[in-house]
């Protein structure tokens, strides 16, 4: 009993030290956002202020980039989820010699470093006039997330028993009707996980819009955040922190919503980090 108590204390101490190390940058973020004279160090503000938030809550700094992010990532997420659901359906329901190579290719693709593809994508986008367009960027974002979404979607779909579908077929429903009226409603939580996970990944994506979007008023928040690194020299760290919190808040909230279910999903393996 005593030995196990000692072991517990040692484990607690080691974890708390690690936790403190992980917390420091986050504490800086929180404190600086309400500090009128924020600099680079973690320190307790002499007085609390909402000025940093006030200063960044303008059309130009926050609302337009966030709306761009929402349109870009929302549209891409919708496209990804629809395509993934459609693709997962035959893969989950029908057996064919086509399944295995397709799924292996998909899994292989989830592991490829997408970063490396960006130079040729830029070249192609210039040639076909998709450069600096929201829909072009959205199409590429959707595609980059598609392999993993198909994989995840198929795993969730495999968990829905086929009996009810067969009943629907007997009643004369088409494949598409069966998918939308029977299968998808039955895998509601799975569908939510895929949707939210896709959205989180796209929301944080920096390199793709950084390369493909050139006009400042089309930039999503992940790229516009760079404007804080002053065109005019000095950085206003308090405002940078305030904006970072606003920009990060949606994904943190969404992650909390799905964390419980995703925790189990990790055991399925697969390239979660994309």
């Amino acid at each position: 009993m005593r030995r196990s108590t000692r072991a517990r204390l040692a484990a607690n101490a080691a974890l708390l030290v690690t936790a403190a190390a992980f917390a420091l940058p986050l504490v800086w973020l929180l404190l600086s956002s309400v500090d009128a004279n924020a600099d680079l160090r973690v320190r307790v503000p002499s007085s609390l202020t909402g000025d940093n938030f006030d200063a960044v809550l303008t059309d130009e700094i926050t609302f337009t980039p966030m709306l761009n992010s929402l349109l870009l990532c929302g549209g891409a997420t919708l496209l990804t989820v629809v395509c993934a659901a459609l693709a997962a359906y035959p893969l989950s329901r029908h057996r064919s010699r086509f399944n295995r190579p397709f799924l292996l290719t998909i899994l292989f693709t989830t592991c490829l470093p997408i970063t490396a593809v960006m130079v040729p994508v830029y070249g192609l986008f210039v040639q076909v006039n998709l450069i600096d367009t929201m829909y072009g960027t959205g199409l590429f974002l959707a595609t980059s997330q598609l392999p993993f979404s198909i994989w995840l979607m198929k795993n969730f779909m495999d968990g829905v028993p086929m009996v009810l579908e067969e009943a629907a077929w007997t009643d004369g429903a088409s494949n598409l009707q069966t998918l939308s009226r029977v299968v998808l409603p039955l895998m509601g939580p799975g569908l939510t996980v895929v949707t939210i996970y896709t959205f989180i990944q796209l929301w944080g994506n920096f390199f793709v819009p950084f390369m493909l979007i050139l006009t400042p008023d089309q930039m999503p928040a992940s790229v516009s955040i760079f404007t804080f690194f002053g065109n005019y020299g000095s950085v206003i760290y308090g405002q940078l922190a305030a904006f970072s919190i606003l920009y990060s808040a949606p994904v943190l909230v969404l992650y909390v919503l799905i964390s419980r279910r995703l925790g189990g999903g990790f055991a399925l393996g697969g390239a979660v980090k994309g």
């Binding site: 992980f22 693709a87 592991c111 595609t143 598609l146 920096f206 393996g269």
Partner: protein
Amino acid sequence: MSTTRGGVWRWLPIAPATLLLLLFLAGPIGYCVWIAFTDTQLTGASGADFVGLDNFRRAFADDDFRNAVWLTLVFTFVSAVVGQNTLGLALAGLMRAASRPVRTVTGTLVITAWVLPEIVAAFLLYTFFRREGTLNALLDWLHLPSQNWLFTLPILAVSFANVWRGTAFSMLIYSAALSEIPRDVVEAAEVDGASGPRRVWHITLPMIRRSIGTNLMLNTLSTLSVFGLIWAMTRGGPGNRSQTLPVFMYDQAFLKSLIGYGTAVALLLLLVGSLFSIVYLRLMKVEV
């Protein structure tokens, strides 16, 4: 199972996804293979001439390229193989012994660092490592020598940033793996008088070796493609002292307008990634 239903038409739903993947993924990769063998430049309408293996020959003779390969190896080894992997395993292991509140607090913090958008994480770590930043404040307080980390040890600073940001993934993988080890095996060893470290070495590690392989592979792959974190923290600098392959690729293709050369580097990166992916698929022995 009504496998006869619909004939070929039942495969139609796969079409939209396949089309997107062909157009926006296979297409660029194919284009990449072509461009890498030409001297395409961003400026000048001279067009693209086929130059064979020139870009690759040039790369291997280029000191900056070799520097980038070396830094990519350092970055991957320090942050993915040693940092994320070992720290993730240690955290997962310690959490099993720790009390519940400590477990929750640590888990929440580590996962928050992971969920934050890449650029936010980059800025947080940038302020942390700057001369006037928190790390030096902490060192001053402990009466230890401080220094300008982003200038003296830029590749280590970005590696630590990647550990901060990426450890949660390993922690989650290993927590799942450890919770699947049957309790009686561990208890039997305990009864036989095996010490803590010996139990870890002879029982725990062999039992989770597949998870270790999977995790190492995925960490390596995701670390190979890190761009935003390094770009926001150091721009690859000072000089080229934190210029890993993705940053080098961007620098050559866009800042120096050498699209052909930059794409050749991208192709090499893709090839390395593909090799790792194939090993990963083998290792997983995926059943699909």
